[in-house]
Symmetry: C2
Subunit: 282 residues, 2 copies
């Protein structure tokens, strides 16, 4: 199925996301928050604060229409979430109301084995202010070789020295079952038969759930849970995580404003998030 490079620059329909405080709390529980006393403000409506990585949730309805573009036709089973960059541009983020997301095809790269489609999404509040900016990288297996540019390397390699900080956070065996109630109900993350058809021994955790766990680790260790400090985070989804595994986040302080990091599963030692960085407001 063809990739038509004329899709680059095309805007998808802006779509609203209506949410309540319950959605913000459910997201936090979905990424494993709620067990520690420090998590109270993420899971309780009294002075509720949205975890910064909640910023990937409001764009789900708008980005879904990417699946039905004429210019980019593909087998949905070949789609992988490759990369995610999220920036929180307004603090504090709202904990209820309406946010509108405006997706735009930013780039399409020819990676040989597949096509990398990058989508930029601005998510604005009812004052027109941009609250979140996301860049999503979708990797479509089997759709490479169309003669496009190769694009930049992922970058943000982990340094060849011991990490400055290491944080371990457990996930629950039912973590994916909770996380999926925030909107991504892909059966790959809960249905054993579906997961086997997709080539996995068992259901895998959502990449964006692991992303949220890593965000919590960084927020706790380096921001003392002050969400105002959290500016941006970027990851590459390298390997699957199974629900119930412990996520080990290794961090290297590059400057007061920026870290490099990567995540592995404690149980298998496989790096699941790589080429990763976070930026802080100082």
């Amino acid at each position: 199925m063809p990739i038509d490079l004329s899709a680059v620059g095309k805007e998808l329909e802006a779509l609203p996301y209506n949410f309540t405080q319950k959605d913000v709390m459910l997201y936090a529980l979905g990424v494993g928050a709620g067990a520690d006393p420090e998590d109270l403000k993420y899971v309780y409506e009294n002075n509720l604060v949205a975890l910064p990585t909640f910023g990937v949730i409001p764009l789900v309805p708008a980005v879904s229409s990417f699946m039905s573009m004429e210019e980019i036709q593909f087998n949905p089973a070949m789609l992988l979430h490759g990369e995610q960059y999220l920036e929180q541009k307004k603090h504090p983020a709202p904990v209820d109301g309406e946010l509108v997301s405006k997706p735009k095809i930013a780039n399409i790269y020819d990676k040989g084995k597949g096509a990398l489609v990058e989508i930029d999404v601005e998510t604005v509040d009812n004052k027109g202010d941009v609250v979140y900016y996301n860049r999503i990288g979708f990797f479509i297996r089997g759709e490479g070789g169309f003669g496009g540019e190769k694009g930049p390397e992922p970058g943000y390699e982990a340094p060849d020295r011991e990490p400055d900080e290491v944080v371990e956070l457990e996930t629950l065996p039912q973590q994916a079952a909770i996380y999926r109630l925030s909107g991504d109900s892909n059966p790959l993350h809960i249905d054993p038969e579906f997961a086997q058809m997709a080539g996995f021994d068992k259901p895998i955790l959502h990449g964006l759930c692991t992303f949220g766990v890593a965000g919590r680790a960084i927020l706790r260790r380096l921001c003392n849970d002050n969400t105002e400090m959290f500016r941006a985070i970027k990851v590459r989804f390298s390997r699957p995580v199974f629900p119930g595994e412990t996520i080990v986040t290794e961090m290297w302080k590059e400057s007061p404003e920026m870290i490099l990091f990567r995540c592995k599963t404690k149980e298998r030692g496989e790096y699941c998030l790589t080429n990763a960085a976070a930026w802080f407001n100082t």
Copy 2:
């Protein structure tokens, strides 16, 4: 504040509860389901089945109006959930749509130290069939001595022999934070300061959450997770449980259709649910 016995027999306004499959799944996660493969049907929209104890959820909106009855005035801080009887009268239960609950003040007993107000609630589906019948026992501390009848003893005492079955089920440290998203957002279950004002060292688990955990234990061990077998369950809420504790359910088989049971916390050995029984369709 006075208890007026003329309240007995009075019907409260019937109120609807509108729900989706997501609510049914969230409830199951709230009572600790989702970690075992056998739980899949309770937390996944593909062939979703409602846990029988979900039947206590649809009546929350209707029963709340009991708090503002003229005939039964009391300080809400003195209210305890004393007992609960739930019967599922129609199988399978719906997993979305609308259910209407019709509460009625069934009895008011004078227990000396307080008043026991029993409320009967029929919950009907859109065909008019009764899906759930609940009897709720609210204990209002400090409102006894008004000269009413003492009422029956709670009954269903645990036998003086070793239990026939014992099941241990863990709760999560964040169990109350998940459970409360099903509708009971009393801060007693999440807010450390509020819990201390109410006389507890820390937030306690919802009694109906423990009730749901006990229901899961019985359903797993004695019904092989066949919800059609589950007819009714009755408990008395005797002692608090803290989130993260393990619930030990001890069961005595009295007949093919009925068991006695009680629950304790593994960590402290305190019996939290007593005077308890369950009934099966055979």
